[in-house]
């Protein structure tokens, strides 16, 4: 009987290890079959998926393209474009140097603008609670443990906060949302920056991990006194409470379109890899929501479908942006649009 069991179990192990590959293969399945018609396939970020889904029908009537997108997660999207099993990948976090090397001749282009909401579950407190970066960092480092801590009380004058414990929920999988959130904490708190840092996953000192936005949301909504984070569209659709975050000008901003737009104009000169960081922008961006982020499309510079891919991407960063606001994606600001269009022009066959 153990002889029967062993290979099955081995497969389970391998299945986990080969997950990215499997995803890559499955998302590629449709591409070669319909090579003659213009099908454009993509895979990656679940965050940007609602927006890309909105594009399928209009891009079909505008150019006759069949757009296929699998929301398999940013990491799997990077793996898929690295293996060239899709025409484009989508990632919420900019590629790391290792990922760029592996992708061999890829470029990333900012193509959507979103924000991360800091969630809380505090039954009985009706007010919109305020929070700032340094306090949030202390909470996520386990240094502030109760809701009526003076640091939180000071941000919320006149609100009667309970003495209950704060329980912390974070993502256990690799996530662009985690990158955005820790990028903000690193910018707002020198202690966080030196001890923990930023990334798609970090070494969380305290708290429980949930798998996916849904996992974090489940932990937060199940647990009175919990704090977590998720992208704003997810938070809104699931009716979760989130903080108004203090920006550098001292204003408390909610993760809405106005806050994103104000933050988005703060980084006008992208790095050589086209990555832009707009967390915690300077005080002159008075309405900025400080945990905003660009999300990226990753394309090979050389593609057999170059003309179609370029047309599609141009459409996505211009006309496609108009589908954003009702899903809480703020259209790209002009300065970023220029960057994106320059990058798209570099694609060749």
């Amino acid at each position: 009987m153990p002889k029967l069991g062993h290979p099955i179990r081995t497969f389970t192990v391998l299945a986990a290890a080969a997950a990215a590959l499997a995803v890559a293969v499955s998302s590629a399945g449709a591409a070669p079959a319909r090579h003659s018609s213009t099908t454009i396939t993509g895979a990656g970020s679940t965050f940007v998926q609602p927006l890309v889904s909105q594009w399928i029908s209009p891009i079909g009537s505008a150019y006759g393209y069949e757009l296929q997108y699998s929301g398999v997660g940013s990491g799997a999207g990077v793996a898929a474009i690295t293996a060239r099993t899709v025409d484009f990948g989508a990632s919420d976090a900019p590629l790391t140097p290792d990922q760029f090397t592996a992708c061999n001749g890829c470029e990333q282009i900012p193509w959507a603008l979103g924000a991360t909401a800091v969630l809380y579950n505090l039954p009985g407190v009706k007010n919109l609670l305020h929070m700032d970066g340094p306090t949030l960092a202390q909470i996520f480092m386990g240094q502030i443990t109760t809701w009526n801590d003076p640091a939180i009380a000071k941000l919320n004058p006149g609100v009667s906060l309970p003495s209950s414990k704060i329980s912390i929920a974070h993502r256990s999988d690799n996530s662009g949302t985690t990158f955005n959130f820790t990028d903000f904490l690193s910018s707002a708190s020198p202690a966080w920056n030196s001890q923990i840092g930023k990334g798609v996953a970090v070494n969380w000192p305290v708290g429980s991990g949930g798998k996916g936005s849904s996992g974090v949301a489940a932990l937060v909504s199940q647990t009175p006194g919990a704090i977590g984070y998720a992208d704003i569209a997810y938070a809104l659709h699931n009716h979760l409470s989130y903080f108004a975050m203090k920006n550098k000008s001292g204003k408390f901003a909610t993760p809405g379109l106005r806050g994103m737009l104000s933050a988005a104009t703060s980084d006008e000169t992208p790095a050589a890899d086209n990555s832009l960081s707009i967390v915690n922008p300077p005080a002159k961006y008075a309405n900025a929501y400080p945990i905003s982020t660009f999300t990226y499309v990753i394309v090979p510079l050389q593609s057999s479908k170059a003309p179609d891919l370029k047309k599609f991407l141009f459409w996505a960063v211009t006309k496609g942006q108009t589908y954003g606001p009702k899903l809480l994606f703020e259209p790209l600001p002009k300065s970023v649009l220029v960057v994106a269009e320059k990058a798209i022009a570099k694609i060749h066959s």
């Binding site: 009987m1 153990p2 069991g5 062993h6 290979p7 179990r9 081995t10 389970t12 192990v13 391998l14 986990a16 290890a17 997950a19 990215a20 995803v23 398999v72 997660g73 940013s74 990491g75 799997a76 990077v78 793996a79 976090a93 790391t96 290792d98 990922q99 592996a102 414990k165 329980s167 929920a169 974070h170 256990s172 999988d173 690799n174 996530s175 923990i196 840092g197 930023k198 990334g199 798609v200 996953a201 970090v202 070494n203 969380w204 708290g207 429980s208 991990g209 949930g210 798998k211 996992g215 489940a218 932990l219 199940q222 647990t223 006194g225 919990a226």
Partner: protein, 329 residues
Amino acid sequence: MTSLDLTDAARRPFTGRRVRFGDVSLQVVAGAAAAAVTILVGLIVWKVIEGARLSISHYGLAFVTRIAWNPVLGHEIYGAGSFLFGTAITSLFALVLAAPLAMGVALFLSELSPGWLRAPVTALVETLAAVPSVVIGLWGILVLGPALRGHIESWLHSAFGFIPFFGDPSPAGASIFTAIIVLTIMILPIVSSISRELFLGVPHDLKEGALALGTTRWEMVKGVVFPYSRGGIAAALILGLGRALGEAIAVTQVIGGGVFIHWSIFDGGDTLASKIAASYQGSSTNLQTASLVYLALILLVFSLVANISAQLIVRRVARRHGITRGGHA
């Protein structure tokens, strides 16, 4: 036995051609299947070692015991220590909880239950085995976790809090304890179905003989059923252990994560399999990817050891059984 005789017959010179053709094709097909599995396992092992090479050369064996996992660029360091601990503790506790339960279920279904109840309960137990792990995981995070935290964990903590195992309950209900209960539920049907088959296989004359000697039902079970199926039970438990060791998705959903070793089972943690499942997609550096594959390698070795020890136990018990069976009966 029978199949062996047939093969011998087939090898005799004057047998008809059709029989020979059938035998040859059977041999080819079966042999090819066996070879394919062997080659597949070999390829898997080779690929895993290949994939882990960067991490192996970087960290060596120190990786296995180091308690660290920091994927942040510039702070990168990896080790399997806390995941090995998490794997060992969740699997062993789950086994300890599942074993008596499974024995109870199996005994009930094979010896005690009224006839009309047997078929439906058996079907239900087997349905439990067919529930996808992601569904059990969802139930674990939405229903079981909060229920355990609200009732069982707080009670255990207040009653037995002086034992370090039962520390302060994690407020979110995602903990090693939740993972243990989820794993218990997942391995219970495997162990109980196999044990039920074993108990049903105990010869009737032995059972009836014992009862005729005036034993109670429990004495009959203790004196005849258990000794007769001891080797099989051990194998069933090891199979269950294997399932617990390798289960990834459901555990990832409920265990809460964290790179530390706590005495309290009410805190979060991670197992080898759950860490791989949570982190492989979107792994951002080559070293991290290699380290995750290194975890897979450790898990493979773990499973191999579990399997080999299962076979050794079965063989040893079977041999002793052969000598002493007369005594038990």
